[in-house]
Symmetry: C2
Subunit: 269 residues, 2 copies
């Protein structure tokens, strides 16, 4: 499947033009098959990334509440080797974090060579919720776009491929998810009445997303707007982009540091 | 005393034109008096910085071996409140540090609001020793200048004043310090035969310093070339620049969060 129409590399963005629900014309059964194969491929590519230990991948996930960030991560990481995969979840900044620049806590968690890092929320919160609530002025938001681009270019120079996903849903879909969180006792903990206040600011969030994705995207550090309401399609798209990203890195298993002619499986004891 | 002739804000630099030994025309006795007063002023200003807890200072110290970085820090910090002052000494990067971009370990140690951070060596090693030994190519060095400027501008935006000192000495002075390290048993530990190899690369180091100071300096993030062979003058100059820096920040003691008319020293028990 071709996901290029969901890819942003700096062009202006109108989220209204992006679908929130897609199946790619495939049946559920077919999507499951495709997903299974992609996960196998990604796992294989991850092994080479880990063995080579020269490059890394940073996956950034952003979305409105209840769009499925947690389930995306659950599905994706179940198929990765956790030894080479670190998930970082960014909550409201602590007092210590606020006493530093907004990238301080994020940079500290950037993946080391050989790793896949996954950010559940990220430095983009500092130009999303912060912008929507006017916690800093617009000049500072503009400077933050630049700081974000600088940061992503710094880690790119060290061999980190950055790939960013916005899980795109409609307000109606969000409401249905909130309702289901209230109806199912074991999901109650995920509901936060404060989310209803943020929900009222939907158009402002969409506009903040559009600005961030327009100002902080490039071929080297693209955004993808993922139609996230069909979870199978979502998983397929994310796995596919991750697979393409890993393939483009051409990771190589390291050369043995011993003379392979001197050691054979049946000569050692 | 006026130290503006030692200040670099981006102009081209010829270290051969900078003195390594100065007294500012003052007697030893006079310099000691001036230094004492400056230290008191700096301590007072540090208290306001700490109480305000909105801004911070980053002091970067770079120099050839045996130029007096350790003694500079010892003298300066003896007069600061250690609770609001953190010294970070950057050695050869560890395996974990090398598995990240070169600013990762440095950013992690950037001072929080209210603090004075002192870097004994710094991110500039990555464009000094690394450049002299061609451990990375020249294109990467140029990109690192840009990454350094971006990083310093990021923390400046959060309220961190960056001030950078190059302790300037002559090769002859260095030799005399090495000899004294060998002659005094309690100083032997500071001698490292490898330093003699670096010493042979003196002109290359000077050239790397010149390039770094030309490419990574601005009014907001200046370099100072400190004549470092007279240690009294060195201390005076550094304290004076630090004092001016702190004064320019206009730190204010926070407003009390209680009604001062309701509480008096003799009304509470």
């Amino acid at each position: 499947m071709d996901f290029s129409k969901y890819k942003l590399i700096g062009q202006s963005v109108d989220l209204g033009e992006f679908s929130t629900h897609e199946t790619g014309g495939e049946s559920e059964k077919e999507l499951k098959k495709i997903r299974e194969k992609l996960w196998e491929d990604v796992a294989e590519l991850q092994e080479a990334l880990y063995a080579e230990s020269k490059q890394s991948v940073l996956v950034v996930l952003q979305a409105m509440d209840a769009a499925g960030k947690d389930s995306t991560i659950e599905k994706l990481t179940r198929n990765l080797n956790a030894q080479g995969c670190k998930v970082h979840s960014f909550k409201s900044p602590t007092k210590l974090e606020k006493a530093h620049d907004f990238l301080w806590r994020v940079h500290a968690c950037s993946p080391q060579a050989g790793e896949i890092g996954i950010f559940n929320r990220s430095h983009y919160e500092d130009v999303l919720i912060v912008k929507v609530h006017n916690w800093v002025d617009q000049d500072e938001i503009i400077r933050r776009y630049q700081h974000i681009n600088n940061f992503e270019s710094l880690i790119a120079d060290r061999g980190t491929k950055v790939v960013k996903f916005m899980l795109n849903i409609s307000p109606e879909y969000q409401l249905s998810r909130f309702k289901s969180r209230l109806e199912r006792a074991e999901k109650n903990w995920k509901f936060n009445p404060g989310d209803l206040d943020e929900r009222k600011l939907w158009p402002d969030y969409m506009s903040a997303f559009e600005d961030a994705m327009q100002n902080c995207a490039s071929e080297a550090s693209p955004w993808y707007v993922v139609p996230a309401q069909d979870r199978l399609f979502r998983d397929v798209m994310i796995a596919s982009v991750l697979k393409d990203t890993l393939e483009s890195m051409k990771c190589e298993y390291p050369e043995p540091e011993f003379d392979v002619s001197e050691f054979t499986a049946d000569s050692i004891s």
